[in-house]
C-alpha cells in the first residue's frame, strides 16, 4: 500500500512536468499579446514594442520556458503581468471561495442525491422513482446559469432572503459565510445531484438484484438494514468514483457559478487571465489544477479499500 502511494505520488511529478511543458507550448502558440492589452486601446506600435521587450516576450521559446521552469523549481509561480502581484498570492486570495463553494456543493449533492438514489431504487417503477428521475433529467438539462438567475430572482430580489452576489470569509461569521454560499451551491449542485442520484439508483438496482440481498430479506432483516447495511455499502464504489470525479470537475467547473454570483474564486481568476493573456496566472492555475486532479484520483482509488476489503492496491 505504502509503495503504491509513493509510486503514484512519483507519477504525479511526471504528469505535472508533461502538463507544464504542454501548457507553456500551447500558450506560446496561442494568438494574443499581453503587451497590447497592457498598453491599452490607444497605444502605438512603439508602446507595445517597449512593453514587449520589458516583459521578455521577444525571447525565444526555450529561453522563456527555461526561465519559467527555473522559477518553478524555486517555488515561484511568477508574477502577474498586469497586477504585478505574485501568482501564489493571487491564487491564495481565490482558494477559500472556491474550496467553500466546492465543499458546500458537495455536501448538498451527497446529502440530497444518495438518499434520493436509494429511495428511487427501493421503489423502482413507482411514482416516487419517476419523480426522482424526472428531477434528475431536469437537473441535467437546465443550464447552471438559468437556474442561478431563477434562484437570484426568487430568493434575493423578490424575497430578499439571501444576497445576490459576493463572498464573505468564514472569519466574518459562519452565517455570513453560509448565506453567501447557499444560492451558488444549490445552483451548482443541481447537476451533481442529478448525476449522483442516477448513479446511486443504477448501482443500487444492480446490487438489489443479487442473491445475497434476497437471502438477507429471506432471513427477515428489516428493509432499512438491507438497503443501508448491505446494498448501499456494496453499491458505493461507482458512487464514490463519480463523487471523486465530481470534486475535480467542481473545482474547475465552477466558472459559470462564480461569474454569475460574482464569487472571487479560482474559476474566474482563470477566465480573466485567459481573456487578457496573463500567462503566469494561467500556467500557475493549470499546474495546481493538474495536481489536484491527480491527488483526488489517488484519494478515490485509496477509498476503494475501505468499501471493499477484497481490493488490494499493489
Amino acid at each position: 500500500m505504502i509503495a503504491y502511494i509513493v509510486r503514484r505520488l512519483f507519477s504525479t511529478i511526471v504528469v505535472m512536468a508533461v502538463v507544464a511543458f504542454v501548457v507553456f507550448s500551447l500558450l506560446y502558440l496561442t494568438p494574443g499579446d499581453p503587451a497590447a492589452i497592457i498598453a491599452g486601446d490607444i497605444a502605438t506600435d512603439e508602446d507595445i514594442r517597449r512593453i514587449h521587450a520589458r516583459l521578455g516576450l521577444d525571447d525565444p521559446f526555450l529561453v522563456q520556458f527555461g526561465r519559467w521552469v527555473w522559477s518553478l523549481a524555486h517555488g515561484d509561480l511568477g508574477t502577474s503581468i498586469f497586477t504585478n502581484l505574485p501568482v501564489t498570492q493571487l491564487i491564495g486570495q481565490r482558494v477559500e471561495p472556491t474550496l467553500s463553494l466546492t465543499l458546500c456543493t458537495l455536501v448538498i449533492a451527497i446529502l440530497v442525491a444518495v438518499p434520493l438514489g436509494v429511495v428511487a431504487a427501493a421503489k423502482a417503477g413507482s411514482w416516487l422513482d419517476r419523480g426522482v428521475m424526472s428531477f434528475s433529467v431536469l437537473g441535467f438539462s437546465v443550464p447552471v446559469f438559468v437556474f442561478a438567475y431563477i434562484l437570484i430572482l426568487t430568493f434575493s430580489v423578490q424575497l430578499d432572503w439571501l444576497p445576490v452576489q459576493g463572498y464573505r470569509s468564514f472569519r466574518d461569521g459562519v452565517w455570513e459565510w453560509l448565506r453567501h454560499l447557499i444560492l451558488p451551491s444549490v445552483a451548482l449542485g443541481t447537476v451533481y445531484v442529478a448525476l449522483i442520484t442516477r448513479m446511486t439508483r443504477a448501482s443500487m438496482l444492480d446490487v438489489l438484484a443479487q442473491d445475497y440481498i434476497r437471502t438477507a430479506e429471506a432471513k427477515g432483516l428489516a428493509p432499512k438494514q438491507v438497503l443501508i447495511g448491505h446494498a448501499l455499502k456494496n453499491a458505493a464504489i461507482p458512487v464514490v468514483t463519480i463523487i471523486g470525479v465530481g470534486v475535480a470537475l467542481l473545482i474547475s467547473g465552477a466558472i459559470v457559478t462564480e461569474t454569475v454570483f460574482a464569487l472571487p474564486g479560482i474559476g474566474r481568476l482563470t477566465v480573466d487571465a485567459i481573456l487578457r493573456r496573463d500567462y503566469p496566472i494561467i500556467q500557475g492555475v493549470i499546474l495546481i489544477f493538474s495536481a489536484i486532479y491527480v491527488l483526488v484520483n489517488l484519494a478515490v482509488d485509496l477509498s476503494y479499500v475501505l468499501f471493499d476489503p477484497r481490493i488490494r492496491l499493489t
Partner: protein, 533 residues
C-alpha cells in the same frame, strides 16, 4: 422504518443543524457608523499605473488617489487644481507655478516641486500631447519646494490644456521616487496626494478595490466642476466591486447590495428604471464616439475612393441603435471632434450626412478599381460596442457588393491582431472597430486617430503629410477663433482622406440608488462630492 422516512429524518437533521449554526454564529463585523459607497465599475482594475496604460478604469483609479496641477471644468476652461497661482512671462516662454499650501502625499510627505517635475516628465514620455509639449520644452526647474518653472524653446499655447488633460493619459502627480520609474514599467506603489487612499491589502484583482477617505486632503474652495474645483469627500470608504455579469449587477443594484453601477448595457435600462429606488441617468455630457478604422497598408482601403465609398453608405443612426439600443442614448455626430465641444463642426461632412447614397458609393468603388479583394473585419464578440459595429459594417459593405469576411474573436485577440502589418493572407486585417471617450477626441491634439503620420500613426497607419501639416498649424493657433478655423481645416481634409469613419456618438447611462446625491456630471466617473444617506 421505511427509506422515505429515513430520508425525511436525515433532511430534517441537516436543516436543523444549519439553523443551529445560523443562530449561534456571530453577525459579520462591520465598521460602526462608516459610510461605505459600493460601486460597480465598468471594468476590472488590473493595472495601477495611469501612465503606462490608457485604460479608462486605470484613469478613473488615478482620479481617486492622485491630484493634478490643473484641471478642465465643465465649460472647457482650465482651472488651477494643485497649483495656487501661475504666471506666464511676456515672451510666452516661461511659466512659473506655485503649489497650494497643505498638499501632502498619502505617506505623509509634502508635495514638492521635484515631485511635480518628475511626474510631468514621466507623463510626457508616454502621452501624445505631452510629447508634443516636450518638443517645445527647454527645461523644468525647481525654484524651491513650492515653486517651479517651465522654460520653453518656443511658445506652446496648449501648455495649460496639456497639464489639465482630463482623459488618458492624465498628468497625475506622484512622489518623485515613484515618478522616476521608467515610463514603460508599471509602478507598484500607488501613493498619491488625491482625495482617496488606495488600500492595497484589500485589493483582490478581478473582484474588489478599496479606497478610504484621505483625511489629510485639503480641497479647493470652489464648487466641483468636472475634475476641477473642490474635491470634498463625503463617504469614509469606497468599494469597487467588479461584477462581470450584467444581470447579476442589475439584481445587486435593485436589491440595494450596491449603491452605484457605472455603466450598463442598454437592454437593462428598462429593468432598472422600474425601480423607484434606483435612478438611471446620463451623467456623461460627451459620451463616446464609435470608430471604424481602415488598414491603409493593403488593398482595398489603401485607396482613398474605397474609404470615401464607405462614408456614403454608412448610416450613423443604425450604429446608435446597434450600440446604445435607443436614439435616447446617442445620436449621429458628423464630426471628427466630439459633438458638443468647441471644435466640433459639420464642415466637410456631407458624404456622411443625409440620405445614404449607395449609387454614389458603388460609383466610387468602380472608380477605385476594386477587384473583389477580400475585406477582413476583425470582431470582438465579448465587447458589445465592437461587435454591434462590426455586424453593421459587414452588412453595409455586403450591400455594396464587397467581399467581406467577418472574423469573430475576443477583444484580447483583436487588439493583438490589429497591430499586425501583414497582409490578410498572413493574419492581417482590413477593418476593426473600437470606441473613444468624448474627452479623447475633442481637438486635433487629442484625436490621435485622425493623424496621418504613417508608420508612427495609430493602427492602420494612414500616411497623409497634409493632415499632419494642418494639425501643426492648429497647434500654432493662438486664439479661439483661429483655433476653430484650423480645426475645421483638419476636419475638411479628414473627410476627404478618411483616416477613419466616426460611426456614432453614444452614452451609456449610469444607475445609482436614490439615497446617493451629488454625483458629478462629467465625462469621467468621479467619486468626490457623492453623499450617501
Amino acid at each position: 422504518m421505511n427509506p422515505c422516512s429515513a430520508l425525511l429524518r436525515s433532511m430534517t437533521a441537516v436543516i436543523g443543524a444549519a439553523a443551529l449554526v445560523a443562530a449561534l454564529s456571530a453577525p459579520v463585523a462591520t465598521a460602526q457608523g462608516q459610510k461605505v459607497l459600493k460601486f460597480i465599475p465598468q471594468a476590472d482594475l488590473r493595472i495601477l499605473d495611469p501612465i503606462t496604460t490608457t485604460a479608462y478604469i486605470t484613469r478613473n483609479h488615478g482620479y481617486m488617489i492622485y491630484d493634478t496641477l490643473f484641471a478642465t471644468d465643465a465649460k472647457f476652461q482650465v482651472q488651477p487644481q494643485m497649483v495656487d497661482k501661475y504666471e506666464l512671462s511676456k515672451d510666452q516662454l516661461t511659466y512659473t507655478f506655485t503649489l497650494r499650501d497643505g498638499l501632502k502625499f498619502h505617506d505623509g510627505a509634502p508635495v514638492r516641486s521635484a515631485d511635480c517635475i518628475a511626474s510631468i516628465e514621466r507623463w510626457a514620455k508616454r502621452d501624445a500631447l505631452g510629447q508634443k509639449m516636450a518638443e517645445s520644452t527647454e527645461a523644468w526647474t525647481a525654484v524651491n519646494d513650492k515653486t517651479f518653472t517651465l522654460k520653453l524653446k518656443k511658445p506652446f499655447p496648449l501648455t495649460l490644456e496639456a497639464l489639465a488633460k482630463p482623459s488618458s493619459n492624465v498628468p497625475f502627480i506622484m512622489p518623485e521616487r515613484i515618478a522616476k520609474t521608467d515610463a514603460s514599467t508599471n509602478i507598484t506603489d500607488p501613493i498619491g496626494s488625491g482625495p482617496f487612499k488606495f488600500v492595497k491589502a484589500e485589493w483582490v484583482p478581478g473582484s474588489k478595490v478599496v479606497y478610504v477617505k484621505n483625511t489629510d486632503y485639503v480641497p479647493r474652495k470652489e464648487p466641483p466642476s468636472w475634475a476641477a474645483g473642490g474635491k470634498v469627500v463625503k463617504v469614509d470608504r469606497v468599494e469597487w466591486i467588479y461584477i462581470p455579469d450584467s444581470a447579476t449587477a442589475a439584481a445587486a443594484l435593485n436589491a440595494g447590495e450596491v449603491d452605484w453601477w457605472e455603466q450598463m448595457p442598454p437592454d437593462l435600462i428598462p429593468v432598472l428604471a422600474k425601480n423607484k429606488e434606483v435612478k438611471v441617468e446620463n451623467i456623461d455630457p460627451l459620451g463616446s464616439m464609435g470608430v471604424l478604422r481602415f488598414n491603409f497598408m493593403y488593398p482595398p482601403f489603401n485607396n482613398q475612393k474605397m474609404r470615401q465609398a464607405v462614408l456614403y453608405a454608412l448610416d450613423q443612426n443604425d450604429y446608435v441603435l446597434g450600440i446604445a439600443g435607443s436614439l435616447k442614448n446617442g445620436h449621429a455626430c458628423y464630426s471628427f471632434f466630439t459633438c458638443g465641444t468647441p471644435l466640433s463642426s459639420e464642415v466637410g461632412a456631407a458624404p456622411l450626412k443625409g440620405k445614404r447614397d449607395f449609387d454614389k458609393a458603388k460609383e466610387l468603388i468602380k472608380e477605385a478599381g476594386y477587384k473583389g479583394e477580400k475585406i477582413v473585419i476583425i470582431d470582438a464578440t465579448d465587447q458589445p460596442i465592437v461587435h454591434s459595429q462590426s455586424l453593421l459594417t459587414a452588412e453595409t459593405l455586403r450591400k455594396l457588393g464587397l467581399n467581406v469576411d467577418l472574423q469573430a474573436g475576443d477583444w484580447g485577440t483583436l487588439i493583438t491582431r490589429r497591430s499586425s502589418k501583414e497582409p490578410i493572407e498572413k493574419g492581417g486585417w482590413s477593418i476593426f472597430h473600437t470606441w473613444l471617450v468624448g474627452p479623447d477626441v475633442t481637438s486635433p491634439a487629442l484625436n490621435f486617430a485622425v493623424r496621418g503620420s504613417g508608420q508612427k500613426a495609430w493602427f492602420g497607419w494612414p500616411d497623409d503629410p497634409k493632415i499632419e501639416e494642418l494639425r501643426d498649424a492648429w497647434f500654432a493657433a493662438t486664439d479661439p477663433a483661429s483655433s476653430k478655423k484650423a480645426a475645421e481645416a483638419v476636419q475638411l481634409r479628414a473627410f476627404d482622406f478618411v483616416p477613419y469613419v466616426p460611426t456614432a456618438q453614444f452614452i451609456l447611462p449610469t444607475a445609482y440608488r436614490t439615497n446617493l446625491s451629488g454625483v458629478i456630471i462629467a465625462p469621467i466617473t468621479l467619486m468626490w462630492n457623492v453623499e450617501k444617506k
